[in-house]
Symmetry: C2
Subunit: 150 residues, 2 copies
Amino acid sequence: MTSDFEAQLRRVPLRVTRPRLAVLAALHEHPHSDTETVIALVRAQHPLVSHQTVYDVLRALTDAGLVRRIQPAGAVARYESRVGDNHHHLVCRTCGAIVDVDCAVGDAPCLTASDDHGFTVDEAEVVYWGSCPACATEHHHSDPPVRRKQ
Amino acid sequence: MTSDFEAQLRRVPLRVTRPRLAVLAALHEHPHSDTETVIALVRAQHPLVSHQTVYDVLRALTDAGLVRRIQPAGAVARYESRVGDNHHHLVCRTCGAIVDVDCAVGDAPCLTASDDHGFTVDEAEVVYWGSCPACATEHHHSDPPVRRKQ
DNA sequence: GGGTAAACTTGAACTATTCCAGATGAGTGG
DNA sequence: CCACTCATCTGGAATAGTTCAAGTTTACCC
């Protein structure tokens, strides 16, 4: 498990450090975590890791393609370690929950705009907005509002 | 033109004020503007309008459905007055330019996820990422990097 | 083991946005 | 047409997420 993450880092290549292994492990077990959550998870094992290091690591891993940054409108950045496919996300407007959803129509149609206006398109990102099962059933209570940036 | 915006506000209903008319006019002539740009456009006619008022107006108009907020990952919020259809956007990774694109497959398929995991989906947002014609041809120069938040 | 660039720590800075309290004014009813 | 009232606007301060910068440590190559 750990050696798997080590191999991922060496393949990129990036130096193998404790903070990077801890971030990869955290995202593997808690997909769609935001930075604050990743910091807490990393510090559970290595209390002395600085927040700046986690920001640096997340950027390095994202640039290297080992993790993917997702940022629904009005929310903080979240990260996931599932990369390489083109899957999309369901996002709950109420509680912010995110779940993966496979691309509905395979790869190709997802990249095809009706008129590309001369753009060179390399990715089509789809976000399905709605309510998760839990929030849909109790939307009349005093919902604790999600912290949103917007 | 101005009376058209006035009618829009009364229909919602929202009070008709100079800041609101100015924001609607600004977005009508400069779609996909960010807040800073809207503030500048409004102040061209009404120099004394505060930035907080523009933020308030944009929120009120968004909540009322007269404008739509769009916020590509890692960028500041932008606004447009084209509402009511479900069109999508092409976004240039280099310069941040945004252009509208009609929904490729009509309405219904756009709302259909391959597996909704129990979510109640009310909107499918599609962002096509790539390079605009200008940036695609000169991507080797020292591109002035776009100010991005991420 | 020693050298070196990459990575980490610490602490401050920055930016977009929001919060707050008080002043103003648009719409309504007299 | 005038007064009332609540929505709206002003001005200023605060917040949160993220980034910048300088100096120290450490992973990797020889």
